[in-house]
Amino acid sequence: MNTAATTTAYLPDDAVAIPEPQVIKGRLSNTQYFKYWRTCAAMGPIFLTAFIICWGVLGHNIPPIPADHTADQMAEFFRTHYNEVRAGMAGAMLFGVLYLPWTLSITKVMEWINPLENNIATTLQMWGGGLTVVPLVTSSVFWLTAAYRPDVLSPVTLQMLYDQGWLLIDMFYAITTIPMVAIGVAGLTDKRAAPLFPRWACWFSIWAGISFLFELLMPFFKSGLFARQGWLNFWVEFIVWFAYIVIITYYVFKAIPRLEKERTAALAKA
């Protein structure tokens, strides 16, 4: 089915044709050009690890407190674990912003996928990924508010804050779908013999972004698979998102040395 491609010799890359000046930045040496890039890419795994620890473990969000628990159970939780939640949310708000530099490292790879074409997909990916910081950080504020003075806040207020945090982080998924689909769509147009983002990763990225649509049902349920703690809307969707971060980071790190060679070749031609 896919054997035809492997039987032909590797083709010269379109990308090795000289990219647009704003992409190749011909005055810079490779050292200057690729400076900070790997650091930004490394922010992905750092974000993921720290977010799982701070938001997930300390914040008791992995798994979430079930939506069908009573307000008193919620109050009991905050009045017992307030210090963990404070620390967790402070950390989540700090490390949550690392999604931005990680996003930029992907954008820079995407600029090289079709360096002679327009930058719509690249720009959408940058904005969508960067704006993903918003739900991550602002939802943390709600949990942090609840943990700030749980002794004087009423149980229903605490419940409302916890609910609001979850409703925000789950229901703002679409801003993350944009970069996921943009990476996939742009990646699939890569003409390289071995694309910078392999086709399977592109399709996975598109699929993962669209699969978040199940969250649309989340506000209608307090139990079952679609509730915030449900196996589908929590376990499947968050694992899919985490896996996407790992997969894309891996291919960004694989792409950077390849682009160093491509840029060298392109500069030599220029």
Partner: protein
């Protein structure tokens, strides 16, 4: 396959020929299969979720399922497998480079497929007008969620068929690239069919009638 990073920069950096690029694009196919198999995996989990929750209250699930109209399910199955056949014929025509025939089958597949949408909307409106919604009971929660998720896949497939019909219309013959897109779209459309083949008996037919 071997990793070509080194060769890439050593090769003469001429632009790839159209034909060569097209051959490379032959690898669309395994890619879309990742999308398809991931989707199918989630649907399989949903099947398990439905069956596990069904065990908790078989009577409720059976009493709800018996109220579903099997005729809609049968009609929808016939529509999807027939539309699927036309897509197979479209792929075969595209493989032979017959652009007009390809478009004809794609159009027919779309028109027959549209019947599924009509039938589903009629079925949903009958249910909703008799006050049955997603929150009626756990059975209907699954019924709407599963058929709704499937319906969104169906809509995606219809859009894909329409886009392929347009793309094939822009060319003198069926290019390698368009062929690969048609093949990918066909695989996706068959998945919509396949999922329905399981959804229909699971939702409608497990109950003794």
């Amino acid at each position: 396959m071997p990793h070509p990073e080194n060769d890439m920069t050593q090769n003469p950096p001429d632009l790839a020929t159209e034909e060569a690029v097209s051959i490379l694009r032959g690898r669309h196919l395994p890619g879309v299969l990742v999308f398809i198999i991931a989707d199918m995996a989630v649907f399989c989990m949903l099947f398990v979720g439905f069956m596990v929750d069904r065990m908790k209250d078989v009577a409720l699930f059976n009493n709800s399922a018996i109220a579903l109209d099997v005729r809609f399910g049968v009609a929808n199955t016939l529509i999807l497998v027939t539309s699927g056949l036309f897509v197979v014929l479209a792929v075969n025509a595209a493989r032979a480079g017959l652009r007009k025939t390809t478009r004809g089958w794609l159009l027919l597949s779309f028109l027959v497929g549209a019947g599924f949408g009509v039938s589903k909307i009629v079925e949903y409106s009958i249910k909703i007008s008799s006050g049955i919604t997603m929150q009626t009971n756990p059975f209907y929660m699954y019924y709407y969620a599963l058929t709704g998720a499937h319906f969104l896949h169906f809509v995606g497939g219809m859009i894909a068929l329409a886009v392929l019909w347009v793309l094939a219309g822009r060319e003198a013959t069926v290019s390698r690239n368009t062929f690969n897109l048609i093949e990918s779209g066909a695989l996706y459309w068959h998945m919509v069919d396949l999922l329905w083949l399981f959804l229909f008996p699971m939702l409608y037919l497990l109950v003794p009638r």
